[in-house]
Every structure is written in structure tokens, then in C-alpha cells.
Symmetry: C2
Subunit: 290 residues, 2 copies
Amino acid sequence: MTRIGFVGLGSMGLPMAKVLAAKGFAVVGYDIRPGAAQELAAAGGKAADSVGDALAGAELAILMVVNAAQAESVLFDSNAIARLAPGAVVAVMATCPPAKALALASRVRAAGFGFIDAPVSGGVVGATAGALTIMVGASDDDFSRAKNALNAMGSKVVQVGDRPGAGSTAKAINQLLCGVNLAAAGEAMALARKLGVDVSQILDIVSGSAASSWMLRDRGPRMLEDHPRVTSAVDIFVKDLGIVLETGAECGADTPLAAAAHEKFKQASAAGLGAQDDSQVTRAFGELKG
Amino acid sequence: MTRIGFVGLGSMGLPMAKVLAAKGFAVVGYDIRPGAAQELAAAGGKAADSVGDALAGAELAILMVVNAAQAESVLFDSNAIARLAPGAVVAVMATCPPAKALALASRVRAAGFGFIDAPVSGGVVGATAGALTIMVGASDDDFSRAKNALNAMGSKVVQVGDRPGAGSTAKAINQLLCGVNLAAAGEAMALARKLGVDVSQILDIVSGSAASSWMLRDRGPRMLEDHPRVTSAVDIFVKDLGIVLETGAECGADTPLAAAAHEKFKQASAAGLGAQDDSQVTRAFGELKG
């Protein structure tokens, strides 16, 4: 089985790495948060004390960090990339602007390694079940060398293009829809509250009608709670819709709904809700104190 | 079985009236379009030559016209309402602003009849299958007298409040979500085209991910066609999102996504696409000629 170095064991990365370990891959993990790698070790993987130790001898490096800048820092700040096995492939699964994924790919290739641009959709639930949607931009050769591991983490692994950037492009379009559908659900629930109707009854109706969306069904119930558990934070959509707008601006696209949604996630974050569950964006529609 | 007078045999009303006839209700239908009532007659109902003839002796009047003004005109312009059976109930199933549904209810009640505010969701597919979502605002007594007929047309009939206006309120919230999710799908598909990726592959991915919505799955494929069949026109959302914004403004709600979506449907309509399928709103995101 492929020897994998996995860096970034957060709410998404840890369950992804655990799935790989459970399916027999030799996964060595690292995260800046002490304890995360130990959780992986307890689930059948191995814990590394540094990025370099995680990547040492790995045939596949998986980076599930916050953004492209972190991915670049992980690989190059201490030249950890040089410790990979000869001919190894680097898979960046974080959400990055397409242009940055492409730039990072060039630098990785110049160092002599393959590159896979492979962002995901499906959240913690999909990560835990090994049922993510994975959008791949990579050459056929690079893709083939990581395919087994990607298939272990995802139920829908699609090569959307043969060069890095294509996966990130698909992810930007995906996040436009996720972010707008989620903000729309927040706007609708806030309107229902203002109108004084039974919000949970309304949520039940629209969850079963043509008004429904994956985001409404998943996040709607948590919009009715004051302190829901966090599955993905408000600030993730501040970042991801920022990438959508950047991607749209670069190609001259018209993205007013993404812009309106972005504004609401930014308002929620500015009001101190950045680390709260993204369902709380509904509070940016008239319930924020200031 | 209840004797029903049905006015408004358009793309929604005709299949709804046919379902009632097929289930044994005595339905007499009228529409300003010559031929529509004959289509109902061919399916087991009866054709009337005027509104008055359709309502004469009816225990339940169902109005599936374009808006509240048409409903009022149908009932009162020639005093057709006076021909209803004593104690009859009027069900307005068109999409109306909640305040207008309430005002119309007052006038109907003053004439001595019951009133049911009962807008629907589910489109032509739901209407044809008798599987609409029907959002009812009515007193228990009025509701009970129309329940059999409503259950024949809908698979989910919910009394959201005990007075007229409550159904229209639920419908406004429903249409906010439908309209924004649809415009978001249009924005996403237009972005995919600008980015030069395989749009049908992207549509397949986002239709199965957290980005999915009922509108994306239903209308997305038709966004890739140049001249799709019309299941619901662009101008319907110009009207319905107008009602959403009016409803939001009346209660002091914040509805920026509905406003952004409304703008796009208005742009598409202004460019001459008002009667085309609402999936063509995607052309307002950068493809309109002017």
C-alpha cells in the first residue's frame, strides 16, 4: 500500500486520514495542534513530530491545510518536500484559488514531484464516511498514482481537467452554490422569524418543496438553535466566497449573489461569530447586536 | 362529492383541475383562453362559458389565476361570487402578497362566504401528479370544508395558520428560496462557462454534492439548452420575488439575496426573455446581448 504523509489534521483532515488508516494505507500524520496526530495514531496511523517527519519517505503527500499559503509554507519553509520519496506526488486538498493552485504546482514540479489539485466537498460527514466528492485537476499519470487513496476518501472522484487549477475551479463553482444556498436559507429563516410564523413548521415545508437545498436541510435545523455544534465555521465561507469572487473577477464573470452572500458571512464574522457554526449566518439578517 | 368551480386553467390550473376530475370531483372550469375548459371537459370535468357559469352553485370555488387583482376581478367584477352555493368557500391558490390575501378574504367574508388562502409549490410536475405542497391559511371550519379537494391536489397540505395571509406568508418564504437557489444555479453555470470548464460535468458534480438544490437539479440541465421547453416563465419570478421583497419590506426584514436574484430575473425579462423558461435567467449573468 502507498506510504502517505498527511499534513493538516483538522475537522476535515483528521477523519480523512483515519479513513485512509482504516482502509490499510500507511499514514503518518502531522498537525500544529498537539494531540491531533496522536488521535490518528490511536486509529491505526502514525504520529509525526514535524512536517518533515510526516513527509519523510512518503510516496504521496496529502495537504489538508487552511489555504494555498499554508500549503506552500508546509512544503518549502523547511524544505520538507525534499524528504519525500523519489517520484512522489503532492495532493493539495485544501480550497485554493485556481491561479494559486497552478502556481504551487509549478513550484512542486520544479522540485521534481508530481502535483494533484484535489479539493473536496461533503463536509465532516462526508470525510468521516469516506464519501467526499473530490474534484481533481491533474495529469493522467499523477492522478493514477493517487487514485487508490482518493477513492478511499471519496465516493465521487472526478478528474475535471488534466492540469492543476481545474479541481480548484470546480470547487469555486461548488462553493458559490453552497455559500449562496446557505445564506439564502439564513435569509429565509430570518424572514420567517420577522413575520412571526412558526419557523420550524416553515422549515419543514420548504425542506420538502421545490425550495429545498442540501444546505437548507443540513443547516436549517441548526439555524433554530442558539448555540449549535460547529461542523464548519462562518469564517470558512468568508474565505471560500472570497475565492469565488476572486476567481470570478479574474475571468470577468458577474457574481452578484456570491457577493451578497459574502457580505453576510463577513458581517457575521465582524460581529464576533467567525468561529461559530456557519448556520449562524442567519443572525446577520437582522439579529446582530452590532 | 363537492361541486367545484375552477377558474384559471393555465399551466398549473389545468392539471390541478384534471386531477380533481379524475378523482371524482364535479369540476366546472373556466379560463379566458378559449379551449382550456374544453381540455378539462375532455378529461372528465365540465366546461363553462363564463366565470359566473363556472361558479354557479359551486360549494367550493378554486381560483388559480395570476395574482390577487385577477382573483378579486373574477369574483366581484360581474358579481359572480353571488352565484356560489350558500355557505360556499373560496380558495385562492395563486401567489399573492399576504396583505392582499387578507384584504381579499375580508371582502369575500363580507359577501357571506368562507375563504382559504392556499398557495402551492411543486410546479407543473407536482400539479399533474396531485403531489403539490399546499400552504393553507384558513379557519379550521373553512379548511375542513375544502380539505378533501386540497388533499386530492397535494401530497403535503399544511395549515400554517388559522387566518388568511398565513399561507401566502409561507409561500413568500418558499419563493425566496426557490428564486435565490435558481438564480444561484444560473450564476454558477455562467461562471463555469466563463472559466472554460466542461459545464455538463460540473453540473453533474454539484448536483450530487453539498452544493445541490431542487432548483439546480431541475433547472440546471435546461440552462445548458438554447431553447428549453417552458415549465415556468422568467416573469413568474419577476412577480414572485417582487412579492417576497414587498413582504420583507413590510416587516422590516433584510433580504439582499432575494433582491439580487430579483434584479437578475428583471434583467432577463427586460432583454426579452420574460416568457421563456426561468432556467434562462442564467443568460442575465453575462450572456445577454443588451
